[in-house]
Every structure is written in C-alpha cells, then in structure tokens.
Symmetry: C2
C-alpha cells in the first residue's frame, strides 16, 4: 500500500469522526494527511471513492476487533460486561460516530449507501454470532431471533451515538435502561421450571 494512499485513508476517517460528513472535502482531508490536495484525485479518482474506501477499511478493522473480543462469550452477563467495555472503547476511538456520519451522508448518495451497507453487515455478522450463542437456551429465543436483534443492536448504537453528541446525559440514561432490559432477559432465562414453562407457552403463541 502506497504510504500517501494510507495517510489519506486514515485522514478521511479522522475528519469524518471529528468534524462530521459535512466537513469532508478533498482539501480538508489532504491537509489533515499532510499531502497535496490533487493526490486525492490521483489515488482515488473522486472524493466519494476515497470515503468509500476509508469507511470499508474502518469497518473491517472494527469488525475484526469485535470478533476477537466476542470469541469466548457464551452468557448474557458476560456479553453485557464486554458490551459496555467495548462500547466505551469504540466510542473513544470514534468508530461509531464515523459510521453514524457515513449512514447520514449515505442518504443522499447511492455510492456511499453501498459502503454503509457493507459496514453494517460486517458489524451485524459478528454481533449475530455472539447473540446466537448467548440466547441459545433462553425461553425467549423463539421471540428474539439473533439476526433481527443484531440489526437492532447495531442500529441502536448508531442512534445512541448521535444522541450522545447532542445530549450525553440523556444517552447515558438510555444506555443504562437498555442494559437493565438485557439483564431482565437474562433473569427470565434463569427462571425456575414453573415460571419458565408458563412463559414459554405464552411466548410460543407469538412466534
């Protein structure tokens, strides 16, 4: 990989994270990369193609970190602890903010929508795998399919990130409640046989 090309990719991610989609331009990116503006077009053709490449790369790296971290998780409790930690870490790295910016920018551009879809797919694939393991013997498993839940979790992180930029206290409150909801799902999984049977029979009618 050409060093200038690499610099442009990481600079694009930085601008997207810190200043938002609206701040993206060949000049802002090149300045942050410490290279000449014309090199954006030499290496990537257009600004949109650079953004596409940068976000796909970031999504790959991010998803790979998810996979490693999720590898040994088999209980809801462990997933929650890890989830909170991972959430803080990814937040600090700015990956969620970057994806949120990508998604909003993608609304007006079919080319970027493809990159955004790719990024979401990479995330949900990892989350779906761990959710499938964790929910395997929960009586709510028939209701909470891992695929749908993984997508809901990914979308939820996007929304929370946007919300956090606007009202940090409110976002924290929302996150705390969601964690409690997850704990409640776990508690339901630990219910005694009587309550468990009662719940399962009722749940069966929903699926």
């Amino acid at each position: 990989m050409n060093p200038t090309k690499a610099k442009l990719l990481t600079a694009t991610a930085q601008v997207l994270r810190e200043d938002g989609f609206a701040a993206l331009s060949a000049r802002t990116i090149a300045t942050r990369a410490g290279v000449n503006q014309a090199l954006v077009f030499y290496h990537f053709g257009t600004v949109a193609e650079l953004v596409d490449a940068a976000t796909r790369q970031a999504a790959d790296e991010s998803a790979d970190r998810y996979r490693e971290a999720f590898a040994g998780v088999t209980s809801v409790g462990a997933l929650l602890a890890l989830g909170r930690e991972l959430h803080e870490r990814e937040r600090a790295a700015g990956n969620v903010a970057m994806m949120a910016q990508l998604m909003s920018g993608a609304q007006g551009s079919p080319e970027l929508a493809a990159a955004a879809r790719y990024a979401m797919d990479r995330w949900t694939r990892e989350i779906e795998a761990v959710l499938g393991r964790v929910l395997a013997d929960n009586p709510l498993a028939g209701v909470l399919d891992p695929a749908g839940l993984a997508r809901a979790v990914s979308a939820g992180f996007l929304g929370l990130e946007l919300y956090e930029g606007v009202d940090p206290a409110g976002a924290e409150q929302a996150l705390a409640t969601l964690e409690r909801l997850a704990v409640a799902v776990d508690v339901v999984g630990d219910l005694g046989p009587v309550a468990r049977r009662a719940l399962r029979s009722r749940v069966k009618n929903l699926a």
Copy 2:
C-alpha cells in the same frame, strides 16, 4: 408569520428530509421555496439559524401529533399497534429522517446541537408519558424506567431510520424483533402470580 418566511421554513424541512444535511444551502432551500436566495439572510440572518428554526418548528408539530395519538393509550398492546402505525406515518412524512439528519449535522455545530437537543426532548417527553402509564403495573417497572426507555426508543428510531436508508430489509427485520421484545415484556406483565413473584424478587436485586 410572513408567507416567505413560512415557505423557507417548510422548504428547509423538505431539503433536509429528501436530500440530507449535506445538500443544505441558501440556494437549494430558496429554490425549493420558490423565492430569492438573499431572502434567507434577510429573514434568518444565516443558513444555520434558518435550519434551527425549521427543525424546532417540525419537532413541535411532530410532538404535538404524538401527544394526541398517545392520549388514550394505557396498555402495551395498544401502544405497539399505535407505535407501528405512527412509525409508518412519520416515516412517510419524513420526520424521523429529518431528525436523523439534524443530529448528524449537529455533531459539527454547537448551534444546531441545541436545536437537536430541543427536538429530542420534545419527542421523549411525549413517549415518556405514555410509557409511564403503560408500564405502571408491570413487574419490570422497577427495571425499565420510563425516562430512560423513552430516550432509548427515540434514539432507536433515529438509528433505525438511518439503517433503513441503507438496508430496508435489515431495518424491517430489526423492527420486527424489537416489537416481539415489547410483546414479551407485555407477556411478562401478564404472568400468573407465582411466576410473577419469582420474577419480581429477582428483578428487585437489579434495581
């Protein structure tokens, strides 16, 4: 209200909804409003102030519609049915997309962040009220505080809207799973006295 001013406000909302935050400019807005570009600055001073005014107005109208619709709802089942209908209607109107665009644009602009926060507050206030009523005698009430849950729901809608623009099928799948989760919460609220007691004692330790 000056008719030109009104036209600019609704045109701003339209551009934000249909073309996204990146497409906002005095010219795109004025063209859609059918008025001269200079009038943006005469009536609102800057483009940012126009966007601020337009999104506050839209949030007010949207929240007022929520309030009316939520007024008579007292059960989770009724809220879910209404929620799905409302979600479709607001989606078609483009209000959620507009807020999502506002939130992402707000990341780079403190002035817009205030407007975004105002919009989120108006939404969560209505949702919190109806959630408080609906969850009043659910054994999970101690875990799912209405304030946090309302914020989570608002943020969730934002994320789902962004996701939908990128992958409609995935977003629908996520929404379906979330609805099932809400139904499960309702089922828990309808549990017999034995299971209910077992759940409540376990839940008590979490709060």
